[in-house]
C-alpha cells in the first residue's frame, strides 16, 4: 500500500482487490468484476480501475500519529547574530576533498572552522537549529573538531543524534551518553554514576570533580581503587595530572606497588613531578651519585658515571630496567634517573651554579647529549621555566637551528613551560636568525593569534624566502599556520607583498607569481578571520 492510509470510506476494498488480481492475471484468464456489457473486457477493467483509482486517492485520510518524540531540552544560550549564522553556514558548506593541486588565492574555509567554533563557544552562542545536521556531519568527519563542534551544537544536537544512527558518535563523545553530568554537589547522584556508570562516564565524572576539588576526586577514586581493572586504574590515575599536588603523594606512593607495570610507571612519573616527594628525593640521591664536577681539568667539567645496575628500589620507583633496542642499558637507566630527579638538586651538587651556568659547563666523555636531554625532560615535567630558559639558550645562538644537543621537538616542549609572551619572543628571535625551515614545530606551540613581533618575524622571513627566489610551497606548512594564526590586524601590513615582483635571474621560474598568489590568500584569509570575529561580537543592546 503506497497511500498515506487506507481510505476510510472506500465502499468495497474487496472489489479493488479483485480488480488488481484480474489485471495481474489478464482478462483472458480472469473476468474482471463489474464488467459493463458491450465493453471489451480489458477496456472495461481500465474504466473501472480509473474510477477506483481516483476514488481511492480522493478518499485519502491522514494516518494515525505515531508516538511523538520528546522535545529537545532547552538551549539557554543566545542565538547567533545573523551575519555569524550565515558565516557558519558558509564555513560548513565548504567540504574538504575538492580536487588537490595548487591552492590558488582562495582561503581554505574548513581550516577556519576550528577558530570560528572556539570563538563562538567563548562567547556562549547557540547555533541555529537547522545547522545542526551539518555541524554533526563535520564533527563526524573530523575528530579534531569534535569537542568544539559538539560543545557548540549543544543539547539539541544530542537529542538529534538519538534519532540518526550516523550521529551515534555524539552520544559517546558527550559525557554521560548525552545526559549531562549529575549535579556534582549531590553526593548520592555522584556515587550512583561512579558505581554504575559506563567507563567513559566515570572518567568524565572523575575529571569534572578533579578540576573542582582535587582531594574529592582522589577520595572518590580511593573508594573503589582496589576493585578496578588495570586499564581503568591507568586512566583514572592519569586524571590526577590535573591539579597534581603534594596531597596526592601518599596515594601515588601506594600505587607504586601496583600489580600493573603501566600503573606503577605512571605513578612514578606523577611523583617525580612533585619535587618535594619522597620518590623525588630518592631519585635525587641516585642521580646525584652519577654526576660530579671534575676540578682537576683546565675548566671545571661535569663527569658522568652511569649506574652499573638497576636495583629493585629503582625499579619500584618506576625506572624501566629493559632498555629499548639499540640503547645502552647504563645510559638508559641514567637518563631515567636524571629525568625524575628534582632540578633543584643540581645547583647544590654542582658548586652553587645557576641553571644557565650549569648548562654551559662542558660534559666529559660524550655524555652531554644524554644529560641535557634528560634535563629537558625534567624541565618539561616539572614545568621549570628557569631550567627551560637555560636549556633553550639564546634563540640567536648558532647551534639553535642545527643538530645541537637539544632537538627541535624538545625545544618545542621546553617553550611550553614559558609564558606566551616569552615563548613568542624566543621563536621570533629564532626565526630572525635561522629562517623558517626549522620553525614549524616551534610555531605550533605559540599562542594564537601570534604576538606582533612574532607575526612580523614570520612575514619578514617569508619575504626573504621570496626574495631568495624559492617556491612558496616549500613554506606551505608555515603559510598555512600563518593563515590561521597571524593577527588579522596585520592584514594591511601585507599589502605591499601582493604585487608580482620582477624575477631575479637566479630565481625559480614563475615563483614571483606564486608568491603573490600565496600572499593574496594569506591576506584574504586574514580579512575573513577579522570579519568572522566581528560578526561574533555580542550585539550592543541599543542596536547598531
Amino acid at each position: 500500500m503506497n497511500s498515506p492510509s487506507v481510505p476510510a470510506d472506500s465502499p468495497a476494498p474487496a472489489a479493488w482487490e479483485e480488480l488488481v488480481t484480474a489485471a495481474l492475471l489478464g482478462t483472458d484468464r480472469r473476468t474482471p468484476p463489474g464488467s459493463a456489457p458491450g465493453r471489451e473486457a480489458p477496456v472495461a477493467l481500465l474504466d473501472t480501475a480509473a474510477v477506483e483509482t481516483v476514488r481511492r486517492r480522493a478518499g485519502l485520510k491522514p494516518a494515525r500519529a505515531a508516538q511523538r518524540p520528546r522535545p529537545a531540552p532547552e538551549d539557554p544560550r543566545p542565538a547567533l547574530p545573523p551575519a555569524a549564522a550565515r558565516r557558519l553556514a558558509m564555513l560548513l558548506a565548504d567540504r574538504p576533498g575538492g580536487g588537490g593541486g595548487r591552492r590558488g588565492t582562495a582561503p581554505d574555509l574548513m581550516e577556519l572552522l576550528p577558530q570560528w567554533l572556539a570563538t563562538a563557544n567563548d562567547r556562549g552562542f547557540a547555533p541555529p537549529p537547522e545547522t545542526l545536521p551539518a555541524l554533526l556531519d563535520a564533527a563526524r568527519g573530523r575528530t579534531d573538531l569534535r569537542p568544539a563542534a559538539l560543545t557548540f551544537a549543544g543539547p539539541r544536537a544530542v537529542w538529534l543524534a538519538r534519532l540518526n544512527p550516523d550521529w551515534r558518535f555524539a552520544l559517546r563523545a558527550t559525557p554521560g551518553g548525552g545526559a549531562s553530568l549529575p549535579h556534582l554537589d549531590d553526593p548520592a547522584e555522584v556515587q550512583q554514576l561512579w558505581q554504575e556508570g559506563l567507563f567513559a562516564e566515570r572518567v568524565a565524572l572523575l575529571s569534572a570533580i578533579r578540576s573542582r576539588g582535587p582531594a574529592a576526586a582522589r577520595e572518590l577514586l580511593t573508594t573503589t581503587w582496589a576493585t578496578e581493572r588495570a586499564e581503568d586504574r591507568l586512566m583514572f590515575l592519569d586524571s590526577l595530572r590535573t591539579g597534581l599536588g603534594p596531597d596526592d603523594e601518599a596515594f601515588l606512593e601506594q600505587a607504586l606497588a601496583d600489580r600493573s607495570r603501566n600503573v606503577r610507571a605512571t605513578a612514578a612519573e606523577l611523583l617525580s613531578a612533585l619535587p618535594g616527594s619522597a620518590l623525588a628525593a630518592r631519585m635525587a640521591v641516585r642521580a646525584a651519585a652519577c654526576v660530579a664536577l671534575d676540578h682537576t681539568r683546565d675548566v671545571p667539567t661535569i663527569t658522568v658515571e652511569a649506574p652499573h645496575e638497576c636495583d629493585a628500589g629503582m625499579e619500584r620507583d618506576g625506572v624501566v630496567a629493559k632498555a629499548p633496542a639499540g640503547r645502552g642499558e647504563r645510559s638508559w637507566w641514567f637518563g631515567q634517573l636524571v629525568e625524575a630527579a628534582p632540578l633543584g638538586t643540581w645547583p647544590g651538587r654542582l658548586g652553587g651554579r645557576t641553571p644557565g651556568e650549569i648548562v654551559a659547563l662542558p660534559v666529559g666523555d660524550d655524555w652531554q647529549g644524554e644529560l641535557h636531554a634528560a634535563w629537558c625532560r625534567a624541565a618539561v615535567r616539572q614545568r621549570d621555566g628557569e631550567w627551560a630558559r637555560a636549556l633553550l639558550g639564546s634563540p640567536a645562538a648558532p647551534e639553535a637551528g642545527g643538530p645541537g644537543a637539544v632537538s627541535l621537538a624538545e625545544r618545542a616542549k621546553l617553550l611550553g613551560t614559558l609564558g606566551p609572551a616569552e615563548r613568542a619572543e624566543w621563536v621570533a628571535g629564532f626565526i630572525a636568525t635561522h629562517g623558517l625551515s626549522e620553525a614549524f614545530q616551534l610555531l605550533g606551540v605559540c599562542a594564537v593569534p601570534w604576538s606582533g613581533p612574532l607575526g612580523r618575524a614570520v612575514v619578514d622571513a617569508l619575504n626573504i624566502a621570496r626574495d631568495a627566489g624559492s617556491y612558496p610551497w616549500s613554506f606551505s606548512g608555515v603559510m598555512g599556520l600563518a593563515e590561521r594564526c597571524l593577527d588579522p590586524a596585520e592584514a594591511s601590513r601585507l599589502d605591499g607583498l601582493l604585487a608580482v615582483p620582477d624575477e631575479p635571474e637566479d630565481a625559480s621560474p614563475g615563483a614571483g607569481g606564486y608568491w603573490a598568489e600565496a600572499f593574496q590568500r594569506l591576506v584574504t584569509t586574514l580579512r575573513l578571520r577579522a570579519a568572522m570575529l566581528d560578526e561574533l561580537e555580542i550585539p550592543s543592546p541599543s542596536g547598531v
Partner: protein
C-alpha cells in the same frame, strides 16, 4: 529604496548557484582577497575585477534590480550560470563588509547595464504595442494545430490498444517484459507529439522494479493513462476547463493567458529536478493578498541551471499570469515591480486532515494530480518505524513523508528545526505522502529550505 533594503543574505545568493560545485567555488571567492575595484550603486548594480589564473582579471557585473530577475555578465570562460565569480561577488556584497563600496560604475560595467536596460525597455514597448505579431499567421497556426491533433489522436488510439493488450495478457507479464517495451511505446508517443503521454509511459517502465505493491501502482497508472487517452478522444464533450487540463496533461503547448494578478508573492520553495536532457525548476509562490498559490516552471539544458531564480523566504511585488486548465496552478511571472525583499509573511496553514481533503477536492478538477501544495500548521516531525511522518500537534493524525523526502538531507534540517516542537511546513501533499519543502519555526525565525 536604499541599498540596504535589497541587500541579500548569503543564503539567497547561494540559492542562485547552478550546482554544489559552483556554490563551493563561489563561497571561496566571497572574500575580499581576489577582488579589486569592486563597487555598487544604490540602483542595484554590483561589479568588480577578480584575479584568476591569467594575467587579465575577469570583469564581473551583476544587475540585481532588473525587474526580470538578476542578470549577470562575466568575462570568464565558464559555462555555468551564474558563474562562481558572479556568486563570489554577490557574497562579498551580501557580506556588507565595506568591500563593495558605493561608487560610480566603471565604463565596462555601465555599458553593459545600459545596453541591457535599453533592450528590456525596447522589449516592453514592443510587447505593449503589437503582441499579435508574435503568433504569426492565425490561419497557418490553426492548420498546424489541427495536424498535430490528428497525430495525437493516432498516438492515443495506439496507446489504448497497447494498454488493452497488456491487460488482456496480465500485468504479471509486464514484469518480465522489462523496460524495453515501455521505452519503445514512449518513443511512439514522442513521434505522436504527445510528450505528456510519453513521460507517463516512460514512468510505467520503472514501476515493476519499485518494490512491494507494484501491481497496484502499475494498475493505477495504466488506468490514469487510459483516462487521459479517453479524455483526449472525447475532448469535445468535456467542459472547456477540463478539456484544457487534458490538453496540458497530454503535453500540448499553451500560453499563459489568464488575467494578470498583481500581488506580493512570497517565494515558498524552489527546487530542481533533472534528467539527461533537461533541468526543470519549480518555484512555488504564495500571494499575500490574494491567498493564491502559483507554480512557476522554468527549464535549463542538462547541467545548466534555469535562469529564473527566486530565493526562498523573500517576497516580490509582481504580476503572475495563469496557464489555462481547471485546477492548474501553473503560472508565468509577468512584470516585476520591485526586486525580492526579505519579508515576515508566512502562508496560513491547515491541519493534516484538511490537507488530504484539499488533495481530494483538487482531483475533481484534475484527476491526474499527484499532489497539491499545502502548508501544514503545527506539525511535529515524528519517527514512525523506518519512516517519518508529520503529526498534528493538537490531534492524533499524521501524514507520512514520501520515500523521496525521507532520503533527503532536508529531513534532518526539518527535524533539527523542530526539536520535537510544532513547526509550520510547506510542501506537496498527495497519494504518495507529504514532501516537505520549506519550514518555519513556531516563534520568530526565517524560512528554512528543505529541498
Amino acid at each position: 529604496m536604499t541599498q540596504q533594503g535589497v541587500r541579500w543574505t548569503a543564503d539567497q545568493v547561494l540559492a542562485m548557484a547552478p550546482d554544489a560545485a559552483s556554490r563551493k567555488a563561489g563561497s571561496k571567492l566571497g572574500a575580499a582577497g581576489p577582488w579589486s575595484e569592486a563597487g555598487s550603486t544604490d540602483e542595484g548594480t554590483v561589479w568588480g575585477l577578480c584575479k584568476g589564473s591569467g594575467s587579465k582579471p575577469y570583469q564581473t557585473v551583476i544587475d540585481i534590480a532588473d525587474a526580470a530577475g538578476p542578470a549577470y555578465k562575466c568575462s570568464c570562460p565558464s559555462r555555468k550560470f551564474p558563474c562562481k565569480h558572479a556568486l563570489g561577488l554577490l557574497l562579498l556584497w551580501a557580506g556588507g563588509e565595506g568591500s563593495v563600496p558605493p561608487a560610480p560604475p566603471p565604463d565596462w560595467a555601465e555599458q553593459w547595464i545600459k545596453g541591457r536596460r535599453q533592450r528590456a525597455e525596447d522589449k516592453r514597448t514592443a510587447g505593449a504595442s503589437g503582441s499579435s505579431t508574435a503568433s504569426g499567421d492565425p490561419e497557418a497556426a490553426r492548420r498546424r494545430a489541427e495536424r498535430r491533433a490528428v497525430r495525437v489522436t493516432a498516438g492515443a488510439t495506439e496507446l489504448e490498444q497497447r494498454l488493452a493488450d497488456l491487460l488482456r495478457g496480465g500485468l504479471a507479464g509486464a514484469e518480465q517484459a522489462g523496460y524495453g517495451l515501455w521505452e519503445e511505446t514512449a518513443a511512439r508517443m514522442v513521434d505522436a507529439q504527445a510528450p505528456g503521454l510519453a513521460a507517463r509511459v516512460r514512468e510505467l517502465g520503472a514501476i515493476p522494479a519499485s518494490g512491494p505493491g507494484w501491481p497496484v501502482r502499475l494498475l493505477e497508472e495504466c488506468a490514469l493513462i487510459h483516462l487521459l487517452d479517453q479524455g483526449w478522444l472525447r475532448r469535445e464533450r468535456l467542459p472547456d476547463a477540463l478539456s484544457d487540463t487534458v490538453r496540458s496533461r497530454i503535453g500540448l503547448p499553451a500560453s499563459a493567458d489568464g488575467p494578470p494578478v498583481r500581488d506580493r508573492w512570497l517565494v515558498l520553495a524552489q527546487y530542481d529536478t533533472a534528467d539527461v536532457k533537461l533541468t526543470t525548476r519549480r518555484i512555488w509562490l504564495y500571494g499575500a493578498d490574494s491567498g493564491r498559490t502559483a507554480l512557476l516552471l522554468s527549464y535549463g539544458a542538462a547541467g545548466r541551471a534555469p535562469e529564473l531564480a527566486l530565493p526562498v523566504g523573500l517576497a516580490l511585488e509582481a504580476e503572475v499570469v495563469a496557464y489555462p486548465g481547471a485546477g492548474q496552478l501553473r503560472a508565468a511571472l509577468g512584470e516585476q515591480f520591485a526586486p525580492p525583499e526579505p519579508t515576515a509573511i508566512r502562508p496560513p496553514g491547515v491541519t493534516t486532515a484538511e490537507a488530504t481533503a484539499r488533495y481530494g477536492e483538487a482531483l475533481r478538477d484534475d484527476p491526474w494530480l499527484d499532489s497539491v501544495p499545502v502548508t501544514l500548521d503545527r506539525v511535529v516531525p515524528t519517527p514512525d518505524g523506518d519512516s517519518w511522518q508529520l503529526a498534528d500537534a493538537d490531534s492524533d493524525t499524521a501524514l507520512p513523508l514520501t520515500p523521496a523526502a525521507r532520503a533527503r538531507p532536508g529531513l534532518w534540517h526539518l527535524v533539527a528545526l523542530s526539536g520535537g516542537e510544532p513547526v509550520k511546513v510547506f510542501g506537496e501533499c498527495g497519494h504518495r505522502g507529504f514532501t516537505p519543502l520549506t519550514a518555519w519555526p513556531e516563534g520568530e525565525g526565517k524560512a528554512v529550505r528543505l529541498c
